[in-house]
């Protein structure tokens, strides 16, 4: 209460009130996200005050859309979002797991346990589960040719929780192929090398993988070809526009001739750069039907465009910085920063370059490349919210595949891990723990069951029946998950339901940490607002 003495306006919540505030916040957040989980979850349509629509089934997106004000809820949300940043999925699971840990802890505390004891139990259980996970995971051998089937199963498991089955299955192939396309031996996978482009056009099922690149702009000259075959591609970062010279050149001229001379000189240097590119084109295309495409990260002004167009070159300006890298990976060649030392070796190659116009939006497709190490997922959809939702799903799918390749392991899903882990805690670990920390271990074990419980609940099944049938089946020595349709136990391996190892580990790691922190809070002081100057 010493705070009161220092600042009579500070609001102070005492021990049990503080604890309950935290627990309630965690439960509240859990309630919001709970219905999202799993392939039978509910999709949320958010309509803003101005009629804007957002569709989401992704915990991460939903959290970001919510105007969370409660400090405890913000802490949990940050953990969950960090979960998404590091492992790409599992936001919803993290939130409901934390919520459940708090709920189970509340029960113990209400019975008179000290939070410290519960937290000790959490620690023991967490260590045990992480060890258990190592044994439980299914190793996947990633040699030069990864097992496509496993990757597909992982991707399908993720995508089916976000999109309807037919679309999810279609995207599964796209996502797996995309990751394998950008995968390079001995190097970490850079998912940025998969471009995700969207067009508001046609339907969601028209989404496809383009081996090559789709750029969201087109040439800016009417005489340039809209479609060109057998193209040499020059990727460059060279300014082809007239620019006033750099600072300090001054803009006062003693007479008009000087001024014009300067302008002309500037112009000439730009023209020379353009002419060097044209010379290269002449060199490589002479006598053939081949075409030449310039993709520039800097600007190209109309006179330069005009020169290029007259030489039969297709030119695009202001390409995305990342596309410069992607272009090299897709078409070969190298990105040049100066036109002084142009050689035919700098050039990449694409079988087909064409433009697609939708209203004011132009898209340039660079396709039929030889050995693509970069590709584009082209999302189509009738409206923005559909596109945005597919985009979220694809992002999750890509990361699930990437995680699998990097982890070289997967975890059997459909709640199988949670059931097994719970039984492991109750049957083996708890007995080795002495004293009251057992209660904490038990609470942790029960909290794990929230995942299969929620899956069952969202499918309209009876949670108690499901848990009993799953634990029984498990104690018979089988690894079992939940069949969403019947509520029966299934073998996730047979059904091809796999989760990411990294995601599971991250959830087990971060959930108890944040829950413990919140449980150990015994006073909440709200000061700083409305504080007047102590004068």
């Amino acid at each position: 209460m010493s705070v009161r003495v220092l600042n009579p306006n500070a609001e102070v919540l005492n021990k049990s009130a503080a604890l309950h505030m935290n627990i309630n916040a965690a439960k509240g957040l859990q309630d919001v996200l709970k219905s999202n989980l799993g392939p039978k979850g509910t999709i949320k349509m958010l309509i803003g005050g101005a009629g804007d629509i957002k569709l989401t089934k992704d915990g991460n997106t939903l959290l970001k859309e919510m105007q969370i004000q409660n400090p405890t809820a913000i802490m949990i949300a940050r953990t969950a979002v960090a979960q998404d940043d590091t492992s790409g999925d599992g936001t919803t699971s993290t939130v409901i797991f934390i919520g459940e840990l708090m709920k189970q802890a509340e029960r113990c505390i209400d019975e008179g346990m000290h939070p410290r004891v519960v937290v000790d139990g959490f620690d023991i259980a967490k260590k045990a589960i992480l060890e258990f996970l190592e044994k439980f995971k299914t190793p996947v051998v990633m040699g030069d040719g990864p097992d496509r089937e496993v990757l597909k199963m992982v991707a399908r498991t993720t995508l089916r929780t976000k999109l309807y089955d037919a679309l999810a299955d279609q995207l599964t192939d796209i996502v797996v192929n995309a990751v394998l396309c950008v995968r390079k031996p001995e190097e970490a996978i850079d998912l940025f090398m998969v471009e995700i482009m969207h067009m508001r056009h046609k339907f969601d099922v028209d989404t496809r993988l383009v081996e090559g690149l789709v750029l969201d702009h087109g040439s800016r000259h009417p005489d340039m070809k809209r479609r060109a075959e057998n193209c040499h591609i020059l990727t460059c970062n060279v300014s082809l526009e007239y620019e006033k010279s750099e600072i300090n050149a001054g803009f006062f001229y003693s007479n008009a001739e000087q001024r014009e001379a300067m302008v002309a000189a500037e112009r000439r240097s730009v023209d020379e750069r353009v002419k060097k590119i044209i010379a290269l084109k002449e060199k490589v295309c002479k006598g053939t039907e081949d075409n030449f495409v310039v993709i520039n990260q800097k600007g190209i002004d109309p006179p330069s465009l005009d020169l290029l167009a007259r030489a039969g070159i297709v030119a695009l300006r202001r390409a995305k910085r990342r596309n410069m890298e992607r272009l090299i990976l897709a078409c070969g060649g190298e990105a040049v920063n100066s036109v002084d030392d142009l050689t035919p070796d700098c050039l990449g190659w694409a079988g087909l370059v064409y433009e697609h116009v939708l209203g004011e939006e132009k898209y340039t497709f660079v396709e039929n490349v030889k050995h693509p190490n970069s590709c584009t997922i082209l999302i189509k959809g009738p409206n923005d919210h559909t596109i945005a939702q597919i985009k979220d799903a694809i992002r999750d799918g890509l990361r699930a595949v990437k995680n699998t390749i990097e982890d070289e392991a997967v975890v059997r899903g459909a709640g199988a891990f949670e059931v097994a882990a719970r039984q492991h805690l109750v049957n083996n670990v708890k007995k080795t723990v002495k004293g009251r920390a057992q209660v904490g271990v038990q609470a942790f074990a029960d909290a794990l069951l929230i995942v299969p419980k929620t899956l069952a609940e969202n499918s309209g099944l009876d949670t108690q029946d499901v848990i009993i049938s799953l634990t029984n089946e498990h104690d018979n020595g089988n690894v079992v998950g939940l069949n969403q349709h019947t509520g029966d136990a299934i073998d996730p391996e047979m059904e091809g339901i796999f989760d990411n190892y990294a995601v599971k580990r991250q959830i087990i790691n971060s959930g108890p940490v944040i829950a413990s922190q919140l449980l150990l809070v015994d006073e909440v002081i709200r000061a700083g607002r409305n504080m007047r100057k102590p004068s």
Binding site: A50, D52, D204, P222, V263, R317, K320, P382
Partner: protein, 654 residues
Amino acid sequence: MVWGQNGQVKKKTYRSLYFNSSTTLVPPIPVNNSQWFRLLNSIRFCCLSYLTFNSQRFRFLNPPCNYPKSFCSRSFLQIVDNLSDEQSMKELVTFQVGSYANFIGSHFWNFQDELLGLLEDPQSHLIFKNQNLDMDVLYRTGETQQGIPTYTPRLISVDFQGSLGSMSSRGTLYNHNPSPSSGVATWTGNVSTQASEPHKKNLFLQRLYDEGQEINESEILDTDVVKSLEDGVQYWTDFSKVHYHPQSLFELNGLWMDPKEFNNYGIGRNTVSEGLQGDEINERLRFFMEECDHVQGIQFMVDDSGGFSGVAASLLENIADEYTNVPVLLFSVRSPNYYNTLTSRKLSITSNLHDAVSFSALSSLCKLIVPVGLPSLNESRVSQYLNVEDVKLYQSSAVYASAIHSINLPFRMKKMGPTGESSNESGAMDLYECIQMLAGQGRQNTVAILDAAMPPPSMTGKRFQQPLLGNLHPLTPETAHDVDDSQAIETMIVHGALGAGEKEVSVSEVREAVETEYENTSSTRPRFSHLSVSRCPLPIPLPFPSIFNNLVGRRGDLLSNSPTVSESPSRRGPLDVHSIPMAARLRSSTAVLPFLENRLGYIRKFGIERGSIGANVLTSWGFGREEIEDIGENLSKMVLALNPQQEYSSDDSD
């Protein structure tokens, strides 16, 4: 709106869907048939861009939307300029970052929209018809997927989520199926809908909507509209009549904090640098930049009183990286309310540190920075003819927007050749030239002061003779007055000036009057000055606040003897004042020293000094010891540039 007409004239709310100026249609182009055929062919593929043909550039004017493109006739072509001429830098991209910047921006675009509307209106005054301003500098031509042409600002606005009120972030033109009933195509399971209460459109927006639906007989009266705006503007979109492009409006989400806590540089910095949101804003900038043929620069307004300055700093870093030679003119704006929130000592230290850090960061990332925003507009000398309630953002932002509009005019004036003289305007320059002039020479001072006279006194005639220069008062805070600075450089714009008896003054008369004043003025004449003059006054659109006092007449003329107080209201608004002349000035002068010295003092006192109170705060914003010292050095360099005599050792920091 007809000039000089008494009685109740219903004021039109112009809202230009697309720009259809038919001022300079080309006479038949001397081409033979085969060339003409080729030209038509290329048009079919190129409706957005310019067209180069026979070394002339043409712009394709959008035909009526139901017109198939293949039927384009020659009358839809407009000569833009001859290629043989010097390439003029053209397009400006505008950024508005933060709440108050968006309030100002909203007024700014209303002015532009009004000018466009007046240009098309057959009844408008001749001045507006011959304004000779190139609106393409600020606007872009586009087309929706249905083929309907659009004309929208080349703008990126960043604000909090939920700050758009009843406006959709997709803008108003490109929406087709906003109905939620269309169902969810991507999910066959359950759908739960969470609809927030729709924002109610105020009377003004309702009327805009009615007019958009071609319900001409809207029952909403001007007076009601004005009144509802006076009382209830909450969001900047409440008084905006402009159509925005879907790429223009960006909402920052996932902040999870009260906007009041989003109050320092550090927070803003983290928000954008962490997530993908910074990337997305940069992508949008790329979208606008890609279409520009000759971008002349970026005009950036940032509300630097809080976290948005951190957001702006990381955006500016990207600009410096990607578009190295594109000059940035930065207005760092601040609302009068900001000064009232500093209630505790801790808060005021934090905010002082924020001021120093934010100013140092922003100024190093742009070519010219103009701090704007007085603690109290109403008590300032600018408000000689104004009556502004400081607490209302809607009112104070209108004043700043007017001044920024004026500063912007020379960038849009058509450049004449060396001999060409226009009777409508003179003194065109582009953004680069403006910055070069103010910051590029001599002292290399990159901080400019914004002054305005709103409205300026009459330019000619003995009866009301008042000095124009003496009527320009700063909108930049913490400036010194009455400084004698022989090194000063200034650029001034006077537009729509009136002379004795409400007569418009010609361009040359304004030039002469200003020249005479420079000659006769008692204080030191600036080392260099530039003057731009236009005959086109500032149009007062309907959603402009009633901030003029009763000395301002219908055309912004100053009534010498206040009319009998009883018959006119104490505040005059868009229904009483239809346009005003404006004078504004950017000035590079030692008068800005107090502003700089204060910031230098803050960082020294609270940040650099050993054991200073603010060191922890700065660490929590992610600044290391060395970076803090760099900030101090940066600021003291700026001070030294203006005041080389004074030695600022790091000891005298109290």
